[in-house]
């Protein structure tokens, strides 16, 4: 084995009940290198991370850290041994009600040798050391709950780095960051790499991977299916190894929108924003793209009646449309697949078919008595048509992988015909295979309605849209057809540079 390998995993096995998740994973991490782990949802990435970080025990196999057997029984042991994990959910890594300084030194407040009394001055001093070493320029007395997500993440990584780890694991760290915020994270990762930390970076995002990867490891069905390293990385090969099939981008046959369905005039969604107008036609898929925080969700919720616009008129099929609540929007045929499915979509106590039928119980019931037979039949149809991987329509939602959960959320709103289908970040936390299934289904079923998809990732917009609208500062600043895209103009609009050009 090569001597740079600071962390080595051999023949790792793990099964949950009868279902094997990891079937003999071999993986090496080298110090001073970023190893990207790619894998579709359900490939076993999360399980692997949880075993390495001491959350789960392994069923078989060996882990060796710096020449010694590494067998953490708890996350704290893994951390002490030098393997630190920053989990996907940013708020799991910080305490929102404490200030930055206390967060940075939180781990010293508990465990063996922690002082009995809390000395704010000493905490501030230690925190400053941690922050300086990480080149973190944050107000140490700010409450973490008041910071933007990116800063919270910096705090949680800095806190992890205070342990001087040999191995740092980052699980989809950019999934809720804007691109500017992600760039700050990448700079931080560069500094850590230069300091000789072995980094395992888990992501779906090609842009992250191109920016950071020294090596790429592909995981599929609990096995490593490809290791790519060297001067020029074979990204396409890595994706293929992960999916086990060729993907072809830009396979969209761009369609013209038919008769206008939704007409929006002079809509204002924020007190200071400029009014904007757009029209959605029958059968077309329109993507709205823009950075995080430019008002995409506000627009989606305004169209769906979950939020009142500050001004403007909407016309649906020639009639005035001003939904006062979500129930009226649904009755008018305007549906929303909300973002953040675990917060806004999934009812955790309900199984698959109960989740799917939720908005349409009135239509599915006879005299208000629910008809589970109809609900189940409809769910079976959707499971087949979206290729949802499950044992039956009565499976609990927490048994499904992220991609399949998202498919259920989309299927919920495809069970009934809509006039306008709005999807807010439908590909969030979804693997590429599931993403392509969903996009294909949207395009195949697009006739008879207008479809509006809110996407932060440009690649995703190119993959599924006929037309692309660009948002910046709570207004629409540009429009493109997906066949002849002027990338320079598009990127300038996203970055908010159109303003400068106009003035």
């Amino acid at each position: 084995m090569d001597e740079e390998a600071v962390f080595r995993i051999a023949g790792l096995h793990k099964a949950f009940g009868p279902i094997p998740v990891l079937r003999g994973v071999d993986l090496t991490l080298k110090s001073g290198a970023v190893t990207v782990l790619m894998g579709a949802n359900g490939a076993g990435k999360s399980t692997l991370v949880k075993i390495v970080s001491g959350v789960y025990a392994r069923d078989g196999g060996a882990m060796i850290l710096a020449g010694e057997a590494f067998e953490p029984a708890t996350p704290a042991e893994a951390m002490r041994a030098g393997v630190v994990t920053v989990h996907q959910n940013i708020n799991d890594g910080v305490v929102a009600d404490l200030d930055v300084a206390t967060n940075l030194t939180l781990d010293r407040l508990s465990g063996k040798g922690a002082p009995l009394l809390f000395n704010p001055r000493a905490v501030r001093r230690q925190a400053r050391l941690v922050a300086e070493r990480m080149d973190l320029t944050l107000d140490l007395s700010a409450m973490v709950g008041d910071l933007p997500l990116a800063d919270r993440q910096m705090v949680s990584i800095a806190r992890a780095m205070a342990h001087e780890p040999k191995v740092l694991i980052l699980d989809e760290p950019t999934s809720s960051l804007s691109s500017a915020e992600a760039n700050r994270l990448f700079d931080l990762i560069d500094r850590l790499r230069a300091r000789g930390v072995a980094i395992l970076y888990i992501s779906h995002r090609m842009s992250d991977i191109r920016r950071l990867a020294d090596r790429i490891v592909s995981l599929r069905d609990g096995r490593i299916t490809g290791v790519f390293e060297g001067e020029k990385l074979d990204y396409e090969g890595a994706v293929n190894a992960m999916l086990g099939q060729k993907i072809n981008l830009n396979a969209v046959a761009v369609r013209e929108g038919g008769q206008a369905i939704l007409d929006v005039k002079a809509l204002r969604i924020a007190p200071t924003s400029k009014p904007f107008s757009f029209t959605l036609g029958d059968g077309e898929i329109v993507a709205v793209t823009g950075l995080v925080g430019v008002g995409k969700t506000a627009l989606a919720e305004s169209l769906f009646g979950a939020r009142r616009p500050l001004g403007g008129q909407m016309t649906l099929d020639g009639r005035a449309y001003a939904p006062r609540d979500t129930g009226l929007a649904i009755a008018s045929g305007v549906f929303l697949v909300a973002k953040d499915r675990s917060d806004n979509g999934i009812v955790p106590d309900f199984n698959i078919y109960e989740n799917m039928s939720l908005p349409f119980l009135r239509r599915l019931s006879s005299f208000s008595v629910s008809r589970r037979d109809r609900e189940r039949a409809e769910a079976q149809r959707q499971i087949a048509s979206l290729a949802i991987v499950c044992r039956s329509e009565r499976d609990e939602m927490d048994m499904l992988s992220g991609g399949n959960q998202q498919k259920v959320m989309v299927a919920r709103w495809l069970t009934q015909a809509s006039r306008v289908l709005i999807l807010d970040e439908p590909f969030q936390g979804v693997d590429i295979a599931a993403r392509r299934d969903i996009a294909k289904k949207l395009r195949a079923s697009a006739a008879g309605r207008a479809t509006l998809v809110f996407l932060t990732e440009l690649d995703e917009a190119f993959e599924c849209a006929d037309r692309i609208l660009v948002m910046s500062e709570h207004t629409i600043v540009g429009e493109h057809r997906n066949s002849q895209i002027d990338m320079d103009r598009l990127l300038a609009e996203i970055a908010g540079q159109h303003e400068a050009a106009e003035q």
């Binding site: 099964a15 009940g17 025990a57 078989g60 029984a73 129930g327 009812v347 106590d349 309900f350 019931s365």
Partner: protein, 351 residues
Amino acid sequence: MTETQMPQANAAPRPALPARASLRDHAIRYGFIVLLVGMVLFFSLSTSGFTSPQSAVFILQSVSITGILALGVTATLVVGGFDLSIGSVATTAMMASSYAMVVMGLDGWTAVALCLAIGAIVGVINGVLIVYMRVPDLLATLGMMFLLVGLQRIPTEGRSIATGMTMPDGSTANGTFSPEFLALGRHRFDFFQPNLLPVSVVMLIALAILIWFFLEYTRFGRMMYAVGSNERAAQLAGAPVKAYKIWAYVISGVFASIGGILLAARLGRGDIASGNNLLLDSVAAALIGFAVLGAAKPNAFGTAIGALFVGILLQGLTMMNAPYYTQDFVKGAVLVVALVFTFALSKRGRR
């Protein structure tokens, strides 16, 4: 997840787990029912007269009012809330019906209507406090409980109400409980044996079936579960979440007032000291219900079984000469065991 934490040396995972897992599933699912049946068997063997119809009816009657209140509070638990005011709603209804008939001289049906209206109004106020004033459910209903405990004492300056009582102004209250009203507490229907089933037991069974059907088989009940499980998702699925929550408190208030009416009818007076245990007993029954059939969530069937479980246990212990003061201890112990069933062993605890 306890078994997954055990490190195992050998590599190949054998699918030996399912049998054990399904055994545990069965234990969670049927454990409480088995316990109930075992308890009935034990008491029938060790005491004489436990298995008679009279004894069964006595048990049902002893839990009928508690059970009705528990079914009401189940509705608020379903939407993710809680109602601490049910006990005092019931005693307020008891005092109000007595006052209406004894002091104001109204007839029985008017008194019943008045009590039901009180229950509904208290429910609306609770709901509005929680939904629109954003007061946390426990605190809002705690405040309401306090308020009602005080309010029901004001008209009579803290005295119990009975025919012939002296009013604060020196006059004598000459009204009487109407016969129809008293029949709610004393009439017994023929059922296999003459004069077997009291009205309160019939009422308990009817309301249990009603709320069970409502929660399990109507779209309204399903939506209430959705509101309790993920309020935001229910709202984005078009549900009028605020209305559902307020309705849940109205159901709870009305059920509690029915309990109070039955209590007044049984006692035949407005007894200021009655109903102290109603809140704790009924909440316990609803929480024990979480454990029945491994539901791990509020459910009407479980609540009814929970109430019955406590009733059978207390009746059996009484027949075995356990002193009355051990009763609360026994109820508490049952509740703790049921909560362990629900949260430590079932899937909800592992989420």
